[in-house]
Structures are given as structure tokens and as C-alpha cells.
């Protein structure tokens, strides 16, 4: 009793207005308490993976310590508990993305697997010789290569929406490229390399006007902006758990139920069947049709815990806080002599990419690491975009809800150290 009273008091004291408090949120992430290379860790590599709050770690530990069992087949209590937790996780995902029906939520390993699933089922069924798949110049390799493989197999053509120097999509070109043979448009909600926020609603209405379904890659969007599958107009939505404070190894493909039902199954195995004889197999209903084999139960539970955590913080409040930190980072980095921002989009989320003079981003990353500042350096699995911008790599700082303006100050100090080393 006394514990709950004192913890309540602590919450009120720290957060009288009930607003999102990044300092208090930071304390929820055990990993952030450490020093690296003798300096307090400043973690700005969240677009690669976000850190996990204590309650995600605890939820997964509790599953393994208290009710680990296989799902959908045991007649015993532990299996019932595990099955219920797994089903609850699916419902939590559906609620978070405002899906009409939890059966539209397919659990996969991550965004990459979700895109491949659509390419290998929907794509193989609907794309034929001479057809076209439309993607954009902003895409991560995981939203390029599966479509390239499909097009090569089917004799179809991959079309690419061009990107402006600022990093924004050319929507006029997008409209022109939506042709009578376009079978699907695949587009990122937010660019992982530059942080460009794409106008998804506008894009889906352009596509739907020509009868083209749209897959949205939400890997970099959902942690910062959330997603409303209904309002967005998307037909498929793919995202990963680990970039939104959940564990690695779990992700989601959401699809309109009718589309999912029309698609052939992907991998064969247990759980995806209703009955098997050597002559004929009857497939299970969606989403189980796409979930062959024992699922990642602990990971689904961890993802549900991450969603509960994000919902409690409030995705709007998180987004507003992150926008402030990111705008501050853009302003502070821009003020440093010989720092060049790569990508200056109309709307930005999560990411700021930059170059320091002619210092290679890899060297920037190493010097920053020496100051305790973790960023990503490289092509960010977006080599075609790098080529379009005439560079091979960038240094990329990416924020999460626990980052603050102080983290940006540490980043800026570390960038000055880069300039000293390579003066």
C-alpha cells in the first residue's frame, strides 16, 4: 500500500501537469544509465533500433519464468495463458494502428519479412509480364529488393518515383507513373535515411484513383507518428517491433481483410492449416494462414508491452517532444561551420542526416563514439538514394522519446571534436 502511494506521489511531483516528461521516461530505460568509453551514453541511433523500457524486458522475462508454453495446441493451463497473451498482443497491435479487425494483423519477424510476404503472395498472384510495380527513390533496400526480385521473376518493370534535392517525393511524377499496368505502389511512411515524412493520405488517394493498392513501410514512421490504417487509406502496412521500443524478431503486416483472404499462403507448416492429407491441405483463416510454425510468443508479448508503454506516454505528446528535439538538432547542426545537412524536407520525423566537411561519415561516427555519442554512419541501406544525392554515405542522428536537447548539445560538442581531429 505504502509503495503505491509513494510511487503515485513521485509521478505527480515529477509531472504536475500530466504532460510527457522525457527525463522521467529516460529513467524507464535501464540501458541508458551506462557510460561508454568513459562518457555518459548519448544514444542517437534509434532509427537502427530503439532501446527497451524496463516493462518490455520484464514482460518477456515473466513469460519465460511463469507461463512459457506453445500456443494454440496445449490443453494445459500454461498453454492457455500463453495463447491468451499472444492473442491479446494481436489485439493490442490492432488497437494501436486502429485496425477494424485483429485478424488483419499478421505477425512476422519484421518489416523486411512483411514486405517479402506481400511480394511473394500478393505480388506473385497479381503481377505478370509487362506489369509494373511502383516504388520511390527514398526507399530502404528492404522496400526495393523484394520488388526487384518479383519483377525479375515475372518479367515486370520496377518504376521509381523521383526525389527532389531536399528529399521530398515528386508527387506530379508519382501521379504520372501510376499507369494502367501498375499493380502496386510501395512507399515509406518516413524515410530512414533522411527523415522525410511522406504525405501518405495524398499518395493513397492518387493511387486509388487509378485502382492501385498501396503498401506503406512504417518501420521509421510508427515510433514517431503512430499510424491509423483506416484514415491513411493504405492497403498494407508493415512495421517492426524493435524500432518502437519492443524486441527484435517481431513485426507486423497489416492488410485489408479481403486482400489477405484472396492472397495465397506463403510458407507451409503447422498452424497455417485446418486439415492435411497427402492429397490436399485446407488452409487456416487469416492471419494464421500466413503464420506457419511456432510464433515468437515472448516477442509478441514484448511488443504489446511496448505499445502499452507508448500509449501511456501518448503518441501525440511523444511526437511533439521529438519534433522539438529534432528541430533543435537541425538548428544547432546547421550553425556549425562546414556541417551540411543532407535532406531538408518539408516535414521531418526521427532523423537528421549530415556531413562534416569532407570527413568521411565513418570517421565522424568513430570520433562521436569516442565522446559517448552513438549514431549511424553509412548508406543506411538506401544506396540508390545516396547515389541520387551524389554522395556515398551520411552521418545520421536519430531520436527517440528519451532524447533531450542536452543530448543534442552533446552531439554538437562531439561534432566540434570531429572538426578538431580532422582540422
Amino acid at each position: 500500500m505504502s509503495t503505491s502511494v509513494s510511487s503515485q506521489r513521485r509521478i505527480h511531483a515529477a509531472d504536475p501537469a500530466g504532460r510527457f516528461d522525457p527525463e522521467r521516461a529516460r529513467a524507464d530505460f535501464p540501458i541508458l544509465r551506462q557510460k561508454v568509453r568513459g562518457k555518459p551514453l548519448v544514444y542517437l541511433d534509434n532509427a537502427a533500433t530503439a532501446q527497451k523500457p524496463r516493462e518490455v524486458i520484464d514482460a518477456m522475462t515473466r513469460y519465460y519464468e511463469e507461463y512459457n508454453a506453445n500456443v494454440h495446441r496445449g490443453v494445459h493451463l500454461l498453454s492457455e495463458r500463453a495463447t491468451k497473451a499472444h492473442d491479446d498482443a494481436r489485439r493490442a497491435v490492432a488497437r494501436f494502428i486502429r485496425a477494424a479487425d485483429p485478424h488483419e494483423v499478421v505477425f512476422v519477424r519484421g518489416t523486411t519479412e512483411a514486405v517479402n510476404l506481400v511480394a511473394q503472395t500478393f505480388g506473385r498472384q497479381r503481377v505478370g509480364p509487362g506489369d509494373e510495380v511502383l516504388i520511390t527513390g527514398l526507399e530502404h533496400h528492404s522496400n526495393i529488393v523484394p520488388w526487384q526480385m518479383l519483377c525479375a521473376e515475372k518479367g515486370a518493370k520496377l518504376q521509381v518515383v523521383p526525389v527532389s534535392d531536399a528529399g521530398d517525393l515528386d508527387l506530379d511524377a508519382l501521379e504520372r507513373l501510376l499507369g494502367p499496368r501498375t499493380r502496386l505502389l510501395a512507399v515509406a511512411q518516413v524515410s530512414n535515411a533522411l527523415g522525410v515524412v511522406n504525405p501518405i493520405r495524398q499518395i493513397t488517394s492518387l493511387a486509388h484513383a487509378r485502382g492501385v493498392p498501396v503498401l506503406v513501410d512504417g518501420a521509421q514512421g510508427i515510433p514517431h507518428l503512430g499510424f491509423d490504417v483506416g484514415a491513411s487509406g493504405a492497403d498494407f502496412y508493415a512495421f517492426s517491433g524493435h524500432k518502437m521500443y519492443g524486441p527484435m524478431g517481431i513485426g507486423v503486416l497489416w492488410g485489408r481483410k479481403q486482400l489477405l483472404e484472396e492472397m495465397p499462403p506463403w510458407q507451409g507448416g503447422g498452424d497455417m492449416i485446418l486439415s492435411v492429407t497427402f492429397e490436399k491441405t485446407i488452409y487456416n483463416a487469416v492471419p494464421h494462414k500466413f503464420e506457419a510454425g511456432t510464433p515468437a510468443v515472448a516477442e509478441a508479448i514484448g511488443l504489446a508491452a511496448a505499445i502499452a508503454y507508448l500509449e501511456r506516454q501518448g503518441i501525440e505528446a511523444v511526437a511533439a517532444h521529438e519534433r522539438d528535439v529534432l528541430a533543435y538538432a537541425v538548428e544547432q547542426l546547421r550553425a556549425i561551420p562546414d556541417v551540411r545537412l543532407v535532406g531538408t524536407p518539408a516535414e521531418r520525423a526521427g532523423v537528421v542526416s549530415f556531413l562534416v566537411g569532407d570527413v568521411h561519415p565513418h570517421d565522424v561516427g568513430t570520433v562521436l563514439d569516442g565522446q559517448g555519442v552513438a549514431i549511424r554512419a553509412g548508406h543506411h541501406c538506401a544506396q540508390p538514394l545516396m547515389k541520387r544525392l551524389g554522395i556515398t554515405a551520411t552521418a545520421r542522428a536519430s531520436v527517440a522519446l528519451y532524447n533531450t536537447r542536452e543530448d543534442v548539445d552533446a552531439l554538437v560538442r562531439a561534432v566540434h571534436a570531429v572538426r578538431e581531429v580532422f582540422a
Partner: protein
């Protein structure tokens, strides 16, 4: 900053900024491309073999300070060496950049100028940068037709 200054020693920074033996090589007998798919670093190494030894080596391409400095120093130290001697030298260099100077007793003399890369072992992600040009040169001397990748080396 001490680990950092071990990595970015003056000599390394200097070779990174003003690489020696940089550019095409007329009359080259061997060429190979080296790629680091993780960061996009991309070099072509040219060598002129005569009488079983490397008479001259040069390189072109783009990369970080470590990979450029390593290519710059390497193209200098391999002159006059046979392919077998270069392989033996690479083995020592590789030990230096993965395990550190302590793993090579009496190393400074044997390694010569390569000793400036003694700080790389503190940064395992940078080993590939330091090794890229070496992989390309050894592939060139072995008559490789395809570009070599740091990923294929399994390190």
C-alpha cells in the same frame, strides 16, 4: 580521447588527407576492386609485377580516413616484395589490427610503417576499413576477376 588519438595518429590523418600513390598506374599488370558493402567504400588497386616482385602499386577510389591511409601506406610498403611476402606481411598486419600491437612481440621493426595502425584493434568495426586495400591487392595478385568484398573475407 586517448584511444581516439591511437586510432587517428598524425601519420594516419596525413595519409588519409594526402594519400600517396593515388591515381591510375600506367603499365599495370594487375588490378582488383575492393568493396566494403557496409559503408560503400570502394577502391581499385593497381600493381605492376616484374620479375616476380611488385615494382609499383597505386590505388583509386573513395573511402574513410582509415581505409585511405591504409591503402596509401600499403602501396608504399609492398614495393619490391613478392606475392608470398605480401601475404606474410598481411598476416602480421591483420593480427595487428585485430589483436593489437601486444600480439606481435618485436613487431615494430617487422611492421615498419604499418605500426601506425596499432590503434585500430580498439575499434573492431574499423578493421574492415584498414584491410580493404590489402584484400584488393592480394586479389589482384591472385588474378581475381570479380571485385572482392570485405564481407567475403569473413572477418
Amino acid at each position: 580521447m586517448s584511444e581516439l588519438t591511437d586510432l587517428y595518429q598524425e601519420v594516419v590523418l596525413d595519409h588519409g588527407k594526402r594519400p600517396r600513390n593515388f591515381g591510375p598506374l600506367e603499365g599495370a599488370t594487375h588490378h582488383a576492386e575492393g568493396l566494403n558493402p557496409l559503408c560503400g567504400d570502394h577502391f581499385t588497386v593497381h600493381a605492376k609485377m616484374d620479375g616476380g616482385v611488385v615494382r609499383e602499386a597505386r590505388f583509386e577510389g573513395s573511402g574513410c580516413a582509415i581505409s585511405k591511409a591504409s591503402a596509401s601506406v600499403m602501396t608504399g610498403v609492398v614495393k619490391g616484395k613478392t606475392a608470398a611476402e605480401i601475404d606474410a606481411l598481411f598476416e602480421k598486419f591483420h593480427k595487428l589490427v585485430t589483436e593489437g600491437p601486444g600480439s606481435l612481440p618485436g613487431a615494430p621493426e617487422e611492421l615498419g610503417k604499418l605500426a601506425v595502425f596499432g590503434g585500430v584493434h580498439e575499434y573492431p568495426t574499423r578493421v574492415k576499413c584498414a584491410s580493404l586495400a590489402w584484400h584488393a591487392l592480394r586479389a589482384a595478385l591472385a588474378g581475381a576477376q570479380e571485385p572482392v568484398s570485405t564481407e567475403a573475407e569473413g572477418e
